[in-house]
């Protein structure tokens, strides 16, 4: 069987099934649907990302505040201790006993 006869035989006895007239409209529908899904997916991703970034920022601010507050409390406590020490009469009382031999 030569090439031309073979081609003719194949052509006469087999046919590619006809395409539906709706092929492009159906394809277009799927493309549009995928575009919408992609938009929604990107929107949700951005929303989740914003939420994540926002949450992290709030957490960071809270941590900084806590760390700052605890440091301030420490300093205040120290100052209060010093103040109590200075105001306490016992210092002068002790000194009086120690140097009582001095005749003023």
């Amino acid at each position: 069987m030569n090439d031309e006869n073979l081609k003719k035989f194949l052509d006469e006895n087999t046919k590619v099934p006809r395409r539906s007239t709706n092929e492009w409209p159906e394809l277009l529908k799927k493309i549009e649907s995928e575009k919408k899904n992609m938009f929604l997916k990107n929107f949700l991703t951005l929303k989740n990302l914003s939420f994540g970034v926002g949450s992290f920022a709030v957490l960071a601010i809270v941590l900084v505040q806590i760390m700052g507050t605890s440091g301030t409390s420490h300093r205040v406590a120290d100052l209060q201790d010093i103040d109590a020490f200075l105001a306490n009469d016992s210092y002068f009382n002790e000194v009086e006993n120690q140097y009582s031999w001095i005749d003023l």
């Binding site: 090439d3 194949l10 006895n13 590619v16 099934p17 395409r19 092929e23 492009w24 493309i31 995928e34």
Partner: protein, 176 residues
Amino acid sequence: MLKIKEMLFSKPAESSDELLHRFKEQYFEQRDFVRSSIYWMINSNDIDDLVQETFLRAWRSFEKYEAKSSFRTWIYRIAKNVTYDYLKKNKETEQLNESVIKSNQDSLEYADLIAKGLMCLSVEHREAFSLHYQVGLTYLEISKLLEVPEGTIKSRANSAKTKFIKFLKENGVTYE
């Protein structure tokens, strides 16, 4: 004309509408080729879904298509992947079906015999044979499409033709 089109293609799309318009143009140009290629590879009437899947996959990557190869070559590769996935899923074998050759089913129509004869060929041989004898491409066109040397394509097509004709003769077909 093709070169001008390819040059235009290599420019990035300005909007999704323009992208879709260009895709639609290519769809109308290549739809018959894609349909034939898929049909001859799987010999099933159920090809509408596969054609649609091919163009959908093409659309998803269309923005990245840079016209380094022709659009026909590019979409043929996608169609081939879709076809291979289909064949894998349906567990088509590439081995000769002994029962078909030895059967005495005289009532088998030529169309059935052709389909069975093609399925007896390896996927690569069937591809070269179909693209040349059924889709009507020259060996050079097939060689550029598949990026395989022309000599290899000729060899595959001739080997497939010999095997196919032998199958037809063994099943009583002596078309001259």
